[in-house]
């Protein structure tokens, strides 16, 4: 387990470094600099600005500066909102994004698991069809369309919930539902398949031959084994939810980090794009890391550092 954790940690660090480097150089390949569009900026001031942000130095030197600052947790200063550091913007924008993301993950995963289990146990029954229909919708309808439709019907027409904005819990409900749909669909189908796989395993027959009741078999033997493969898709799933916040926040007018990120793309705001990308990637890579470790903790075959079977 120690070796496994160590391996995962190294992977995480290397991945992060690749992301940072890649993002940095990609950003500097974008034609023009952030001040070219502002025609009113006199040449002298522009030069001063470039110097201030070290943008006049060779790229490799800039990279060095950037890495050094990054190690101190400093993501630089937004080139658009000149008085705000990227750290400040992230600090302001992250909490709403985090809340919506977390709510969606919890909603999607827990509901998905329950639905998948119920569907597998009532194969071809009512709940199986419900889960199938939800899965089809979740897999086929893009989240921004679901969000728009929810906003249109539930908020605009029925007026049950606020159309957009931020502040109360009510504001978070529709965005979370829209965002959780895809993960709910994926988890419920995977869990169903995984449960059906486990149901056919010999050790379930052993458990039955021990005289255990169906409930005991389901709780003690099926669910734990069926959840294992699900854990591996949590990483990509969380990535989907996090990137999903970009459009969801735009649709529901939530002052979250996603909205800032999309705006910084329009504004050619280097440091902001760089900072948010690195921030997002770090969160995602950390999530995947924790998922891997959790998997290791739950599956004794990995925990004890041996191949399965």
């Amino acid at each position: 387990m120690l070796r496994y954790t160590f391996e995962r940690t190294i992977y995480m660090i290397v991945t992060l470094w690749v992301i940072i480097t890649l993002t940095f150089f990609l950003m500097h390949m974008i034609p023009g600099d952030p001040f070219t569009s502002e025609k009113r900026v006199p040449e002298q001031i522009r030069q001063n600005m470039l110097a201030k942000y070290h943008l006049d130095k060779p790229l490799i030197v800039q990279y060095g500066y950037y890495l050094r600052n990054l190690l101190h947790g400093d993501l630089g200063i937004s080139l658009k909102y000149l008085n705000r550091s990227v750290n400040d913007i992230i600090k302001a924008g992250f909490p709403p994004s985090f809340q919506i993301g977390m709510q969606s993950i919890i909603l999607g995963v827990s509901l998905g698991l329950v639905l998948g289990i119920v569907a597998a146990l009532n194969r071809n029954g009512f709940w199986d069809y419900i889960s199938m229909i939800l899965a089809i919708i979740g897999r086929s309808v893009p989240n921004f369309i679901i969000a728009t439709l929810l906003q249109f019907w539930i908020a605009s027409k029925l007026r049950w919930l606020p159309v957009s904005g931020w502040g109360t819990f009510a504001h978070t409900i529709l965005p979370s539902i829209a965002l959780s749909f895809a993960s709910l669909a994926i988890i419920s189908r995977l869990m169903r398949a995984s449960m059906l796989d486990v149901i056919g395993q010999d050790y379930i027959k052993t458990a039955k031959a021990k005289g255990l009741s169906s409930t005991e078999i389901i709780w003690r033997h099926m669910i734990r084994n069926a959840i294992l493969p699900i854990i591996t898709v949590l990483g990509p799933l969380i990535a989907g939810i996090v990137t999903g916040t970009f459009v969801i926040e735009k649709i529901f007018g939530i002052p979250g980090l996603g909205k800032y990120f999309v705006q910084s793309i329009y504004n050619n705001d280097y440091t902001m794009i760089l900072g948010t990308t690195i921030f997002y990637s770090t969160i995602l890579v950390l999530m995947v890391f924790f998922v891997d470790i959790t998997y290791g903790l739950i599956d004794p075959r990995i925990r004890l550092g041996k191949g399965g079977r």
Partner: protein
């Protein structure tokens, strides 16, 4: 030997699976009994219904598609034919233990061996967890796993195949059941391990006075462990008798075929192994006559037209074959001849 007590009696059992393609008549009227303390072997090739029969007794077949169509199952004086799943739970694990073919997949990979043994104790007896774990450790000792106090905390993947089958036996016998059903318990194991597992089963059978039903296609295993043998073919019993009767005086052409297809130490040099040609019939539409007729060298017209009746050779020996009919031509039994020629 006094009159033996019957532990399990299966009468005219019929069992089918309803599939999309139609009804598979897997077991078609099977009757046999198991006496206390004896070992009964059920022999036959793959798909002959031997596992389905025993799973039906334990009600382990998934239902649907499985369906008990008829017959009676009497265990230890109780008619358990129509027991509900809940009633069966009190019997499974405590009165009937069961072990399966593949020890690699029969244990839960995410639960320690100790917990898996303790689970069956906790289910049927009102004991504390610590006590159950202590008894789990004792069971591991009994089935011959060294370092039991360390082993109970390990997971199945840390055990070898033979060890896992020992652990399975520990689970099955933890509550000293009256009957142990072993479904091809040695098929998936190395030959050297097979003998160890069979020896262990024989030891424990004596120690606990357990009856054993062993399902196998391996006549070597039968010879090693069984007191009596039931030979099944295409969902029916074709012959049953004591081990001596089946091995030295077999009466059914299928049994002859089975015996000729395995090597024997007492065989003469010129005797070759003879395979049984062909494959068993399709159980979607089993033949109206004797199911073995199409592969039988001695087949007569009647064999294709009507099923034979069971006839008694002795108190313990029954055969289901038209050759036993008085009208049938006399056929030299290749095995009786072999015995005669040995003189």
């Amino acid at each position: 030997m006094g009159k033996k007590e019957v532990l399990l009696e299966v009468k005219n059992l019929e069992y089918s699976f309803d599939t999309y393609a139609g009804e598979v008549k897997a077991v078609r009227g099977v009757s046999f009994e198991v006496y206390k303390g004896e070992a009964l072997a059920i022999v036959g090739e793959s798909g002959c219904g031997k596992s389905v029969t025993m799973h039906a007794v334990m009600k382990l077949n998934p239902e649907p598609p499985g369906r008990l169509k008829g017959g009676k199952i009497i265990f230890d004086g109780k008619d358990i034919t129509n027991y509900t799943d809940k009633e069966m739970q009190t019997i499974r694990g405590s009165e009937i233990g069961m072990i399966f073919q593949d020890p690699m997949t029969s244990l839960n990979p995410t639960m320690t061996i100790g917990k898996q043994i303790a689970e069956v104790i906790l289910k049927h007896q009102d004991v504390a967890k610590a006590e159950a774990m202590k008894r789990a450790k004792e069971m591991l000792d009994i089935v011959g796993i060294p370092n039991a106090d360390k082993r109970i905390h390990q997971y199945p993947h840390e055990f070898s195949g033979g060890m896992r089958q020992r652990a399975m036996i520990a689970i099955a016998l933890a509550l000293r059941p009256k009957l142990l059903i072993a479904d091809e318990p040695t098929t998936a194991l190395d030959v050297t391990i097979q003998a160890q597992i069979l020896d262990l089963m024989k030891d424990l059978q004596k120690q606990f006075n357990t009856s054993i039903i062993i399902i196998t296609h391996d006549l070597g295993v039968v010879a090693d462990i069984a007191d009596r043998v039931v030979v099944m073919y295409a969902g029916k019993i074709v012959e049953r008798g004591t081990i001596d009767e089946i091995f030295y005086h077999p009466q059914h052409p299928y049994t002859w075929g089975l015996l000729r297809s395995v090597p024997r130490l007492d065989a003469k040099k010129k005797d070759r192994l003879v395979p049984i040609i062909g494959t068993p019939p399709d159980l979607f539409a089993p033949p109206i006559g004797c199911p073995f007729a199409a592969r039988c060298d001695y087949a007569m017209k009647i064999c294709y037209e009507a099923p034979p009746e069971e006839t008694c050779e002795s108190d313990t020996h029954n055969v289901t074959c038209w050759l036993k009919h008085p009208y049938a031509p006399k056929v030299t039994n290749p095995f009786e001849m072999g015995v005669a020629a040995d003189e």
